[in-house]
Subunit: 356 residues, 2 copies
DNA sequence: TGTTAACACGAAAACGTTTTCGCTGAGAAT
DNA sequence: ATTCTCAGCGAAAACGTTTTCGTGTTAACA
């Protein structure tokens, strides 16, 4: 077992100083060609690689991005991570992942754990509990310590930082318009409680689309699911709720704010004897595995999670590397006027079998 | 913008030495009660938190685990990550994620990037390309440098390290037995090419179960999918291949080595007019979203990905913390006899609508 | 021969910790 | 009055780098 070799050991072995080794390895012309060759050969032989931690300490930057998300077993979030990892890696950064599990406390603990030097900046999506509490002090505290944050998807006005969001409103408008265009008269909405911003926006889109088409929104046709309970493990409840909903109302179109709701709606509808898309047409949000492989496969609003991740990472790294140089130029810690960017990722409707 | 405060700054501010501050904060009784109180109050006021990087450098351990997996947008792998993160966090570790994207080269690059001090140990699952090439030198090199590795799911005998695997063979035997027990006479197997160890093992389980029941395996009933092509984006090909398969053979039971194949098989079967589970019963492997939400929902062999992650993390951290003390005790770098552990996670059949 | 410039290298500081050891002064013991 | 003990604190080393600033040697120049 040969442990990793250090500059000091190379120096001792070759009877030169540590500084000489360092310079030789970086190809400094301060060192003679002879010594340089000798040192480089030796280093290669022993597979020398500089220690990242030491570099981080010296440079006061870790080349690591912290991702903080509510949940990882989730198609959308894992797609975003993939996007982040892709550009992070390409630009020489690593990615460290923390899960808040939708909990306010875990979110804070995780942030504090990472904010003490482990990372250069955050990319995060806010947990449901935090959204409910509307307590965002930990984000602002982190930013005030000089650590940049990029928020995606679940964002909030109270925090001043770069943001990457899906065009939820527009996407929903498009989806509902599509249903109308395909002949639906009584379009139901299956959504979440309002405190989740994406749920609220998608609901708003539904209403706007109806208004655009001079259709009066009927509150009976809106089903708000309480997703504080762990839906995945209470599928029966969900189905029951929807069954009631379908029985009470006459419906020929469904817009659901995520694919689980959409797929479940289809299942329930089929069970009640409706044919899809003949009797009822369905459009979901989020283009995940479920949409693709459901039968009938689901027409859906695609969020381009990977693009969101890529954009977020680019935004963060841009700011990180800009702040280096800006820092040198002005050397003023305070208030170099920062205007933050909000990137909106366009959605796209992917038509499959659940619409005519 | 107040940057993070350091020991040195506290020391200056309070006119004591850095050592005194450090000791006071750690509650050393070497420091008088007065000074201790003063320092602790000041530190709390300025929200002092020790810098992780400096600690890592000093302690020569980062309290960070590197995860290296082929793909993250994947139910099984993300579940494993969740398990790892859970126990890592509980035991004071962070988790850094690298994606090989099934590529040999990216696997190596990622390993080298992380092996230079950024992490204390690896938890990984081998990429397909690496399995194909059968080149495992990078794993052994890493281990020889004193960095422990835990492999899960896709493991290999050529590398000596702790391993956590699913009981693929037994799981498959159970699944096929279940089909036989439910009255299936002509059971088809839909599997991958043999170089993926889990595919091979599950195939083997299929054959063993048939033998146990004195049924002769019929090679016509085995469909090997070439998954080198990106299946997700070539669903049509997949369906076509299966359609041919179903047309040629008489089949009343299907065992598929993953849920995508199983769900697709159901889709094709339904299209051909078969009723599930009346005409054909289906069992898949991996209990993911698809299994749960397919219609009919899929009976499947559950792999307990989270448990795999938890076990892997515990194994790794145990070894990390043991090696500390062992190191102190013997102070011998070389060959303290290491016997590695292989943990087998039992599978469980979850019965749903696709079997009688 | 004496001054200078270039060259090749080393010493030391710095990043932020922890820890070992040594020092100082005050009170107790002799 | 002298030695001892101990409490309370500081200096310095160490972790592995990079970088700035010397410093000594040699060759070139006046």
């Amino acid at each position: 077992m040969k442990r990793k070799i250090t500059l000091k050991e190379i120096a001792q072995e070759l009877d030169v100083s540590v500084s000489t080794v360092s310079k030789a390895l970086s190809g400094s012309k301060e060192i003679s060609e002879d010594t340089t060759k000798k040192i480089q050969a030796f280093a290669k032989l022993y597979n020398y690689k500089p220690n990242n931690i030491a570099l981080s300490l010296k440079n006061r930057k870790t080349k690591t991005i912290g991702i903080l998300i509510p949940e990882i077993v989730h198609h959308f979030f894992s797609t975003v991570i993939r996007g982040i990892e892709l550009v992070a890696n390409r630009r020489g950064y690593n990615v460290i992942v923390g899960l808040s599990n939708e909990s306010f406390t875990k979110e804070i603990i995780n942030m504090e754990m990472l904010a003490n030097g482990s990372i250069d900046g955050f990319i995060l999506s806010i947990s449901k509990e935090t959204l409910l509490k509307q307590d965002y002090h930990h984000f602002n505290a982190t930013i005030n310590q000089g650590m940049p944050i990029v928020m995606f998807d679940r964002v909030v006005n109270e925090v001043d930082c770069d943001k990457v969001i899906v065009d939820d409103l527009n996407g929903s408008v498009k989806a509902v318009n599509k249903l109308i265009e395909k002949g639906c008269k009584n379009i139901a909405l299956i959504t979440t409680m309002d405190y989740v911003s994406v749920g609220r926006l998608r609901t708003q889109g539904y209403i706007e689309a109806l208004e655009q088409n001079k259709i009066e929104a009927n509150s009976n046709l809106i089903l708000k699911i309480d997703d504080r309970l762990d839906v995945e493990n209470h599928l029966d409840d969900l189905e029951l709720e929807m069954e009631q909903f379908f029985k009470i109302n006459t419906i020929d179109g469904v817009f659901a704010v995520n694919e689980l709701y959409a797929v479940t709606a289809m299942k329930v509808a089929k069970k009640l004897g409706y044919k899809i898309p003949d009797d009822i047409q369905v459009i979901g949000f989020t283009d995940g595995v479920l949409s693709k492989h459901a039968s009938p496969s689901l027409t859906t609003v695609s969020q381009h999670g990977q693009k969101i991740g890529e954009q977020s990472a680019n935004l963060l790294i841009d700011r990180l590397e800009a702040s280096n140089t800006a820092y040198d130029k002005f050397s003023s810690d305070d208030e170099l006027e920062t205007d933050y960017i909000k990137v909106v990722i366009e959605t796209k409707i992917i038509e499959r079998e659940s619409t005519k």
